[in-house]
Subunit: 168 residues, 2 copies
């Protein structure tokens, strides 16, 4: 018998965002991929890395088209909103993991385009699996940039699991 | 605690073909998704459905462009070759499963375009997961028809796991 189900620790990256789709993908993944803790006390356990890609803060010119200058307060407020959203999403995702008990969770928030951030992080962490919803990141952005999941399925350097909302 | 890792029997469809990619995807899936048999004697165990999509037999007109008629032997020979290939691939895949021990395997061979056959079979079987390599079905066919895995990731009615050859 060559290699019965691997018992080494795996690093499973789950891309989460503010969409219900991505949280559904997380639930599916927890229901189906969490393995019972090894009975030999070795403590080896999978780590679920919750990865949130926060868009880069918008860059405004000092004076806009109408000749009015942007206050620094506006850019600070937009940036703060982005940070709060990231915290709120990752907190929600972390709570979902708690419902599944014995799960080792790590949270990463990276700034940049979701497609690049996810592929880079997968590479950097040496992930064993990337899990994502199929319809995250909003209709307009998807229409403009193409699907984030399509991009990652092609470019991420690990197996990619795509979970559609209706299945989770 | 809402729902610790589901223990119900799952039906995992693995699309196999003559490429090494698809067999690598099968190995990855066996290494990572096979769960230990339940200790309560309930016998509930996942089923791995090895699905091979066999191209439809070619349809030749009785008389070809040069005016020469095709012998029925030719079409029969091509069809026989397709059947032998299907048997050979599924046998190889079945042997890979044997290496992983306690795995319930079912083999399905369906005739038609791989993209349609796979999505239809996933639907018909009520699959919990579809696993496939990213580069099966040959370069030329992929260039002409688009990637089979892209199509299935978008259209299959279950989560789709895409495993690239280099990872398995």
């Amino acid at each position: 018998m060559a290699n019965v189900a691997s018992s080494r620790e795996r690093r499973i990256v789950v891309a989460v965002d503010e969409s219900e789709e991505s949280l559904s993908a997380l639930r599916w993944c927890l229901r189906n991929l969490v393995r019972p803790a090894p009975g030999d006390g070795s403590g080896a356990k999978d780590t679920f890395v919750l990865l949130y890609a926060r868009p880069s803060p918008p860059v405004y010119s000092a004076v806009n088209g109408t000749g009015r200058s942007f206050s620094e307060d506006v850019t600070t407020a937009v940036d703060m909103y982005g940070r709060d959203l990231a915290d709120s999403v990752t907190e929600k995702a972390r709570n979902i993991c708690k419902d599944y008990g014995n799960v080792k969770v790590d949270v990463k928030i990276s700034v940049g385009d979701a497609r690049e951030v996810i592929c880079q992080m997968v590479d950097k962490l040496g992930a064993d699996l990337l899990v994502m919803g199929s319809h995250g990141y909003g209709f307009i952005k998807r229409a403009l940039l193409g699907s984030v999941s399509d991009h990652c399925a092609r470019n991420a350097k690990c197996p990619v699991l795509i979970v559609k909302h209706r299945e989770a």
